[in-house]
């Protein structure tokens, strides 16, 4: 999960890279603490194009094209619930094997997430607000974790689901004025174990600045004009090593710091947005996969 400041985005992120997000103006890669009005829905669609790679003898390249759908609902002015599901149009892996270079891919729905956000602290002032909201949720194993191709069972990282129930929780803070908005999020994701495998737990610290670049001034402006925001988002993500059988995979997890500049147009009913997320610092464990670039474009609809 700005207002409906759909908390959003977080979801997507959680689903596709470990965050969660939706609602209002709000960040593009994680959540916001802005409200979803009581009894109202917010809908978000985000197309995600993600490229990952690893070094080492396997020299893996992963390409993901997905659509993340998020629906938010305001239970009351402080409590909102969200549901999110990703659909992977294509998850593609190029990997070097003893048989040579191999290309494997899959598609389908991923794991569904549901989470709630409660506004614990709210300080409203003229033309702005400051809010703090804890979030907590679960990811259900609705995606396929046993997909096969001509070679055999697809590797874990290529399956659309991991087969386990996961839980995540954290806190989101938002400071918003008519000129700019700052969002921060601390989130921890505890990944469950299934069939002898557990994806490494994940901790992340996200921050976002959204600055109004149009209209330049609101003086003598009546009504509610559309805004254009320039975005800059920062995502610091640490992933533990995956657990496999009785041990850990040395070539999994690690720490990455990413920046995502972007643009957002905000109307009363619609938000259109896009960001390009690039790594600044990468410290993978061994030859673990790391993000090279992620492009996100989408919209949010205020019902």
């Amino acid at each position: 999960m700005r207002n409906n400041c759909l908390t959003t985005a977080m979801l997507l992120s959680t689903l596709l890279s470990g965050g969660t997000g939706i609602s209002h103006a709000a960040p593009n890669t994680f959540n916001t603490a802005l409200p979803v009005p009581q009894g109202e829905f917010i809908w978000r669609e985000q197309a995600v194009f993600r490229e990952r790679s690893s070094g080492g003898p396997r020299d893996r390249d992963v390409s993901i094209q997905a659509l993340a759908s998020v629906l938010g609902y305001g239970i009351n002015s402080r409590l909102a619930v969200f549901g999110a599901v990703p659909y992977f149009f294509n998850k593609d892996l190029d990997v070097t094997t003893p048989m040579g270079r191999l290309d494997r891919d899959t598609d389908g729905f991923g794991d569904v997430s549901a989470f709630a956000r409660y506004t614990l602290y709210q300080h409203d002032f003229t033309g702005g607000t400051f809010r703090i909201a804890p979030v907590a949720g679960v990811t259900a194993p609705t995606g396929d974790d046993d997909e096969h191709d001509r070679v055999g069972r697809l590797p874990r990282m290529l399956q659309t689901g991991d087969g386990a129930w996961d839980g995540f929780g954290g806190v989101v803070g938002t400071y918003q004025t008519l000129q700019y908005e700052v969002d921060t999020q601390l989130l921890y994701r505890a990944n469950g174990r299934h069939d002898g495998f557990a994806r490494g737990d994940e901790a992340r610290f996200d921050a976002s600045l959204q600055y109004r670049v149009w209209p330049l001034s609101l003086k003598n402006v009546s009504g509610t004009p559309g805004f254009v925001y320039a975005l800059l988002e920062s995502n610091l993500v640490h992933r533990d090593r995956n657990e496999v059988g009785g041990g850990t995979d040395p070539h999994s997890g690690g720490t990455q710091w990413l920046l995502a500049p972007g643009l957002q147009t905000i109307g009363r009913r619609w938000i259109f947005e896009g960001t390009v997320q690039l790594p600044v610092v990468s410290k993978p464990h061994g030859h673990a996969l790391e993000d090279d670039a992620t492009v996100r474009v989408g919209f949010r609809r205020n019902f």
Binding site: N3, H24, P37, E40, D124, Q176, E181, N302
Partner: protein, 104 residues
């Protein structure tokens, strides 16, 4: 004489028009800082019985509410609707001037 009758008729018509216009209220709302949020307030206030039209002047943090003919808005109802949208009502006043410009 004809001119006086004409003016009298015009006055009566305009007065009737003014009376037909509903009450207008001006709300000060804290916490609203983007168009998407403003729409949430519009939606919640529009669900209050008798509300005909809602306009948010986001730069001034002011919400103008026009009521249907014969309807009125209480501060308690306005406060509740603004709260349900996730914001805070800071002021409530009934506009003195009627909605219809011809009546001025």
């Amino acid at each position: 004489m004809f001119k006086q009758l004409l003016l009298l008729s015009a006055g009566l018509i305009l007065s009737a028009s003014a009376l037909a216009a509903g009450n207008q209220y001006t709300l000060g709302v804290k916490g609203v800082a983007c168009p998407y949020c403003a729409f949430g307030i519009e939606k919640r206030l529009s669900k209050v019985d008798g509300v005909a039209d809602v306009t948010v002047d986001i730069g001034d943090s002011v919400v103008r509410v026009n009521m249907a003919e014969g309807a009125s808005l209480t501060e308690a109802k306005a406060r509740q609707a603004v709260k349900e949208a996730g914001f805070t009502l800071s002021s409530f006043s009934e506009a003195i001037e009627p909605k219809d410009d011809h009546a001025q």
